[in-house]
């Protein structure tokens, strides 16, 4: 799918859906055809090796109604927010899903 969405803006969309979407089940938030499930965000924190900030452990699962699914490690949100290098192994998949919501 052709889209102008960047990895950073796709992550921002995910955060926005997680905060403002309509609740689905115990830990899901829906917007359009996407559900962001935060049931795998853990209690524990870890220290960012680059800047030392406390960061969440676990991941958000982003699922499209057509079955596509991608997990976004919570570390990724911190890395983007802090301007650290980001592993974008799942970036294309996330962008495709978010662009199609």
């Amino acid at each position: 799918m052709m889209t102008d969405l960047t990895f950073t803006s796709a992550l921002e969309e995910i955060q926005w859906i997680q905060q403002t979407g309509s609740r689905v089940g115990l830990c899901g938030m829906r917007s359009g055809r996407i559900v962001v499930d935060y049931g795998s965000v853990m209690m524990g924190l870890d220290g960012c090796p680059i800047c030392g900030c406390a960061i969440n452990m676990g991941f958000l699962r982003v699922t499209h109604d057509d079955g596509r699914c991608v997990d976004v490690d919570m570390v990724t949100f911190h890395n983007v927010q802090a301007g650290h290098p980001v592993s974008d192994a799942m970036a294309d998949k996330l962008i495709d899903i978010v662009a199609d919501r």
Binding site: T8, L11, E12, Q15, W16, Q18, Q19, L26, C27, G39, S40, V41, M42, M43, G44, L45, D46, G47, C48, P49, I50, C51, G52, A54, N56, M57, G58, F59, D71, D73, M74, F77, V80, Q81
Partner: protein, 188 residues
């Protein structure tokens, strides 16, 4: 990016109370806080019987990062400090994952799985995985027996947190005959 609100002060205070209870009940032999806590919360942890120690880690950008560790056993704290005080944070290397699992009381099988496969699917209910501080491995036999103690500490920490945040809220123990709020010790 906007702050997702995962790490607000309220969440951190709850987590610290929860970790304190888990440690005071010896479900976890030692726990680490990666953030500062209020004097009041520090006092509560000490009243649980916990020994606390501050240490400093170093980030790769040169920042010094204060951490706090707590345990019922001073030797466990000394062991942790000997290994990590002043050390650079290197992230989730297999060696660090194994060492932290040993210090924090996580099953070795889960540490091995996490070091190799990260957040691989496991057999736990999401609600159970959420209250843990480690990611259970698939087919884990050591984590499920821990869950009742984790659930009990989680519920108790919520009660404690509400009582700290709202000492006169409904449910606070009030002795009307003596006119004293037992939670705050204040006269009514």
């Amino acid at each position: 990016m906007r702050d997702a609100g995962w790490l607000d002060a309220s969440r951190l205070e709850r987590d610290a109370l929860y970790l304190g209870l888990l440690t005071a009940r010896e479900v976890k032999p030692l726990s680490r806080l990666e953030y500062s806590i209020s004097n009041n919360l520090y006092r509560i942890l000490v009243e649980m019987g916990l020994k606390l120690a501050r240490l400093t880690r170093r980030a790769q950008n040169g920042a010094t990062v204060p951490h706090l560790v707590m345990s019922l056993d001073r030797r466990r704290i000394a062991d942790y400090l000997a290994e990590f005080d002043g050390a650079v944070i290197v992230g989730n290397s297999p060696a660090v994952i194994r060492a932290e699992a040993r210090h924090f009381g996580y099953p070795a099988c889960c540490a091995e799985s996490f070091s190799r496969r990260g957040y691989a699917p496991n057999d736990l209910e999401p609600a159970d995985q959420r209250i843990l501080f480690h990611h259970a491995c698939a087919g884990c036999t050591e984590t499920p027996p821990l869950l009742p103690a984790y659930r009990a500490a989680c519920e108790e920490s919520e009660r404690l947190f509400r009582r700290q945040a709202h000492p006169k809220a409904p449910g606070a123990c009030v002795n009307r005959a003596k006119g004293t709020n037992h939670d705050t010790g204040r006269s009514l």
